[in-house]
Structures are given as structure tokens and as C-alpha cells.
Symmetry: C2
Subunit: 237 residues, 2 copies
């Protein structure tokens, strides 16, 4: 089950909409709002872009306790560490555990107010704390940006989404590549660029460069066509 | 060297500011703008929040070619795959390679226009393509959100930032925990809750629960204090 995203006391409706969009891009749909300052709001809809469905389905609660009633494990996202708290884990380290817990019930990722973060009372409702490691000189992620990073990390750690279809390229075989290397050697020798008596490891450099590039069959063909064209004038001389 | 972030033909100045903020939270400072529709702009400053320095230092270019002149490796962020292109790698898979290349020179992360993405001409200027795996039904990350995720992934893969200082908790030793378990057994037996003739694996459950919790020394002390208080009335009977 996908974790739910809980925004506690968000001040700016635009952030609610942007958070909905961030969630949907990573396949999250369960958005819960605790005492939002303004919601519903046109600004939220505008920022949600194509994620209006997530916004429409968002549930509003008076208290964090109510928002977490059916949740089995809640983690608070916090930039600070607190004396009385559980230890804080980095988002990346916490991800596998959160995904495992999400197999058994609803996990909540809880984000506090844009300015004040999570209060001590709100943190006390959480079973774990997660930090997004950031620049100590300026660690202030925008609320929706933090939601985006959290959803990205969980989706990526869970291997949820495949890459888009890859272009198909047929790799060259090693005998095709070897024949091309010999073609290079002949053409460079005929042109005078390669002196067989002082080869200066030129062929080694050619082999190294093309090995690194990882040649495709069509590339071998065009390179040999190019070499053949270079050879022609030399033969006419 | 930290990679630079290149925004090609961004339409919305707010996104430029939000991208600057996203960069700074992850320690990135080199922002390059190719033909922005509106820049400088008050909306960019507003969205940059505490990252006005990154915005102020941003350089504006007429062409992507000019923006990449001193760059040794440029990767284009693209949601689509193209026929003629290099293979696309996921951001997470690409991160170690990008960090290695950034040791040798300036690496560029290139992001296209909010609506159209990177054009074929722009993609042809890149040496690699990176995809942020996302919901196939709605993969439309906001521009600044994509920059945030990219910078987060590179900073996290590089282990750039430590967690905030952790609260210090002294773990209980195993003999302290064993003494507590025996205290539980005595108190539960005295109360009648544990029947020594039908123990029902109660002590096994107690041990399992506390093993999972990972007890601190102060917690063992308060639990034993609680047990002692529970024992008192029973002794008076």
C-alpha cells in the first residue's frame, strides 16, 4: 500500500496543490490535510496541474491524531533533532523500512507547517523521524519539494517505475570491430599518418577510444564507409 | 566540482527562483539560463526565498552551446526516449558516473522548457540522457521539482551532507535488561497474571517486544520503577 502524505497546518494553498502534483508523479494518491489555513483554494488547483484528482480526493482533518487514526506507522519529516525524540534517520536509509511497513498497513509521511515545521506535540504522534540531508547553511526545502523528494525516494527505492522504452541499437560484434580496426590501420598507413616503423601506439589509441564508445553495427558501417572515401584520392595519386 | 544546472528556455520566472532554492538546499550554486522568457524577475526572487545569492550569480546565455562551452559532460533530463539518441539512464543509476565525471571538470544537468522539454537540437548537445522514473499515467514533474530531485540524488549518492546531530541515548546493557525481565516475571507472577504452571510463553513475548524496541538505560530504570509501584499494593494484601 502506498504511504499517505499528511500536511499538517499548511499555510499556503499553492503548496498543497504542488504537493498533490509531486505525489501523483510518483504514484501517490492519499493526501491528508490537517487544519489547512485555506482549502479548497483556486491556487491549490492551479498548482496541482494534472493532479486535480489527488487534490479532489484529499481529506481534511481537525487534528493530526484524527488524520493518523487508521495509520500503522507515522514518520515526521524534520530538519531539526530533538532531545526527547527517537533517532532521526536519513530518507534514503529509512526508505526500505518504510516500504516494508507499508506492506502491512498504511504508513504516513507527515510534513509540518512551512515556517515552523512540526511542533513537539505533532512529533510526539510519530513513531519515527526522517531527515532529508541538506546544506547545513541553507536546508530549507520548499514543502512541495520535500514531498517530491520523499515520494521520489520511496518510488525509486521500491523500483516502482521503469524507464521509458529505450531506443534499440544493435551492437557491433567483435569481428566486425576488428575488421574496422584493420581498415583504420590500412587507411592511416596509406595516408602516411601511421608510420609502420614508428607506429607510436596509434592503433592502441584507436582501439581504446572505440572500446570506450561501445560501437553499434551501423556505426561500424558508416566509419568504414568514411575510411573508404578517404582512401579513394590516395589511390588515384 | 558541483555540476551546474542549465535551464533552457524556461517560461516561468517563478520556476527559475524555485530551482535556485532547490539547488542551494543541496549545495549547488552554478545556475545557467538559456534564453529565459523573463529574467531578472520579481517572481524569481520571491520563489528563491533564501537562495537569492544563487539567483544573483546566475548567468544568462543566448544559446545552449554557449552555456555549455566550458562543460566537459552534459546530460539532458528527458521524459521521452528518442530514436536517434543515446540510451537513457535512470537518475539513480546515472548518479555515480556523473559524480565521477564531475571530479574531472564541469558537468551540466540540462533541463528543457516547462511545456516542450528539450528539443532534438538541445538533446543533440548532450552526451547522455537521464530520466527520473515516474508514474507512466502522469510523469509531469514541475521544473523546479525535477531540479530538486536531481540535486538531492547527486548530493545523497555523494554522501555530501550529514544528518543533524542525533540525540544521545545510552543503551541498556544486557544484564540490566535481564534483571528487568526477571522483575517483570516476579511482578506478573505475584499479580496472578502469569501462572507459573501455565506460563503461555508470556515471558517470551515480553522479551521479544523489548528486544524489538531496543531499550535505553533510562527506560529500564523507569520500567522497573513502574513494576515496583505495581508490586506494592499486592504485598500489602
Amino acid at each position: 500500500m502506498r504511504p499517505c502524505i499528511v500536511l499538517s497546518r499548511p499555510s499556503h494553498p499553492g503548496n498543497i496543490g504542488a504537493a498533490a502534483r509531486a505525489m501523483k508523479t510518483m504514484g501517490f494518491t492519499d493526501l491528508r490535510l490537517v487544519a489547512p489555513k485555506a482549502f479548497p483554494a483556486a491556487e491549490a488547483v492551479a498548482m496541482a496541474s494534472g493532479a486535480a484528482d489527488v487534490l479532489d480526493a484529499a481529506r481534511v482533518y481537525d487534528t493530526l491524531e484524527a488524520a493518523l487514526a487508521d495509520v500503522v506507522h507515522a514518520v515526521g519529516f524534520s530538519a531539526r533533532s530533538r532531545d526527547l525524540s527517537h533517532p532521526v534517520r536519513s530518507l534514503r536509509d529509512a526508505a526500505p523500512d518504510l516500504l516494508a511497513r507499508a506492506e502491512a498497513g498504511i504508513v504516513a509521511l507527515v510534513f509540518g507547517n512551512e515556517t515552523f515545521g512540526l511542533s513537539n506535540e505533532e512529533l510526539a504522534r510519530c513513531q519515527g523521524f526522517v531527515n532529508i540531508p541538506s546544506n547545513p547553511a541553507y536546508g530549507s526545502l520548499n514543502l512541495a519539494a520535500a514531498v517530491q523528494v520523499a515520494c521520489y525516494e520511496l518510488a525509486t527505492s521500491g523500483g516502482d517505475f521503469a524507464l521509458p522504452p529505450q531506443p534499440e541499437h544493435e551492437p557491433a560484434t567483435l569481428d566486425e570491430i576488428e575488421a574496422m580496426h584493420q581498415h583504420f590501420e590500412r587507411a592511416m598507413t596509406a595516408s602516411g599518418f601511421l608510420d609502420p616503423h614508428q607506429p607510436k601506439r596509434l592503433m592502441e589509441r584507436v582501439r581504446r577510444l572505440f572500446a570506450r564508445a561501445g560501437l553499434e553495427r551501423s556505426e561500424v558501417q558508416f566509419l568504414r564507409g568514411m575510411l573508404a572515401a578517404f582512401e579513394k584520392p590516395k589511390r588515384r595519386e
